[in-house]
C-alpha cells in the first residue's frame, strides 16, 4: 500500500515534468519569428516592412522580433494572448487577409486593434526594453527630451490624467510597420 503511493507519486512527478515541459516547449515554438512568418499573411506584408526599420536592423545589432512587441512576457498575460490568437487561426482558415489587397483593405482596422491593446496595457511590451530609467536624455534630441521628461514625471506622479494617460503608442505609431491609408499624422500628436 505504502509502496503503491510512492510509485504513484514518482510517476506523477515524471508525467508532470514531461507534460508541462512539452506544453512550455510548444508555447515557446509558437513564440518565434519563424513561426509567425510561416504564414504568408505575415511574411509578405508586415515582416517585409519591419526589415526597413530600426527594430530589425540598427547600429548595435539588437533586434526585436514579432513576439517581443506583440506577445506579453508575463505568463498570465502571455496565456491570455495565446488564447486570443485562436481568432487569428480562425481567420487564417477563412482567408480573411490572404492577398495583399485584402490585407491593405483591412490594414486600418488591424492597426487600430494593435494600437488599442497597446494603449490599454500602458505600452507594456515597449517598456520591456524601453524604460525611462535606462534612457540617457543627454543623448536624445531636444525635441525628444522635452516630451519624454514630461511623460516620465507624469508617470512618477501616478497622475496619468494630467497627460490623458498617455503612453508610448500615442506618439509612436507606425514605427515598425507602414501606416494605414487614411492615417492622420496628427494622431501621433496627442493634444495638450
Amino acid at each position: 500500500m505504502k509502496n503503491g503511493t510512492v510509485r504513484l507519486l514518482v510517476i506523477g512527478v515524471i508525467l508532470g515534468i514531461i507534460l508541462w515541459g512539452g506544453f512550455n516547449t510548444a508555447l515557446e515554438v509558437t513564440n518565434t519569428e519563424q513561426f509567425c512568418i510561416s504564414c504568408h499573411e505575415m511574411e509578405a506584408t508586415v515582416y517585409q516592412e519591419l526589415q526597413d526599420t530600426p527594430h530589425y536592423t540598427n547600429r548595435t545589432g539588437v533586434r526585436a522580433t514579432c513576439p517581443d512587441c506583440h506577445v506579453p512576457k508575463e505568463w498570465i498575460h502571455k496565456i491570455v494572448r495565446k488564447i486570443k490568437a485562436s481568432n487569428e487561426i480562425y481567420h487564417k482558415i477563412l482567408g480573411t487577409i490572404d492577398t495583399p489587397e485584402k490585407f491593405e483593405a483591412k490594414r486600418m482596422q488591424l492597426a487600430q486593434n494593435v494600437w488599442k491593446s497597446m494603449k490599454s496595457t500602458d505600452s507594456r511590451e515597449c517598456r520591456n526594453c524601453h524604460a525611462f530609467d535606462s534612457m540617457d536624455f543627454d543623448k536624445q534630441e531636444a525635441r525628444s527630451v522635452n516630451k519624454h521628461e514630461e511623460m516620465e514625471e507624469a508617470g512618477e506622479a501616478h497622475d496619468a490624467s494630467s497627460k490623458e494617460g498617455r503612453t508610448c503608442i500615442d506618439c509612436h505609431k507606425g514605427i515598425a510597420h507602414q501606416l494605414p491609408d487614411g492615417f492622420d499624422p496628427a494622431w501621433n500628436s496627442p493634444g495638450e
Binding site: R143, I175, P180, F183, P185, A186, E192
Partner: protein
C-alpha cells in the same frame, strides 16, 4: 623639306601639350580607375540644430535641422505633418509648413484642405544637412 619641319613642329607641340594635360588634369574621382567600384565617401554627421539652420538666401526653402530617416512620405501618409501641419505646429513647437498658405494651393490657385499635392513631397525642397565641406570651393553669396 619645309612641310616636314612644320609637321614635326606640330607633332612636338601636340605631344608637349598632351603630356602637360595628362599630368595636370585630375577628375573628381581622383586616380580611381573607371572600371573599379568607387570608394565610399567618409561618413558625416547629420546636423541637428535647435531653432533651425540659416538660409543660404532669402527665399531659400529652409533646411531640415533634424533627422528624417524614420519619416514616411508615401501614397498613404506624410508623417512630417505630425508636427508641421496647421493643426499641430503650435503644440509641437515646430514651424508650420508654408505658413503663408503657399503649400495649400493647387495649380489653379484654389485652396486645399490638406497640404497640396504638388507640395506633398517635403524633401524635394527641404533636406537635412550634413556637417561637411563642399567638394568644390564655392563663393556664392545670396541676397540677404
Amino acid at each position: 623639306m619645309k612641310k616636314s619641319i612644320v609637321t614635326m613642329l606640330v607633332a612636338v607641340v601636340t605631344l608637349v601639350f598632351a603630356g602637360a594635360a595628362a599630368s595636370d588634369t585630375m577628375s573628381l574621382r581622383g586616380g580611381q580607375p573607371i572600371e573599379d567600384d568607387s570608394k565610399a565617401p567618409a561618413k558625416a554627421k547629420m546636423v541637428i540644430k535647435e531653432g533651425g539652420l540659416e538660409r543660404s538666401f532669402k527665399t531659400a526653402p529652409p533646411s531640415v535641422p533634424h533627422k528624417i530617416d524614420k519619416e514616411q512620405i508615401n501614397l498613404k501618409v506624410n508623417t512630417c505633418m505630425k508636427c508641421h501641419s496647421a493643426e499641430t505646429y503650435k503644440k509641437e513647437k515646430a514651424p508650420q509648413a508654408g505658413k503663408d498658405g503657399s503649400h495649400y494651393l493647387d495649380r489653379n490657385g484654389k485652396k486645399t484642405a490638406k497640404v497640396a499635392a504638388r507640395r506633398y513631397f517635403c524633401n524635394q525642397c527641404h533636406t537635412p544637412q550634413v556637417d561637411k565641406a563642399p567638394l568644390v570651393e564655392n563663393t556664392f553669396q545670396g541676397a540677404k
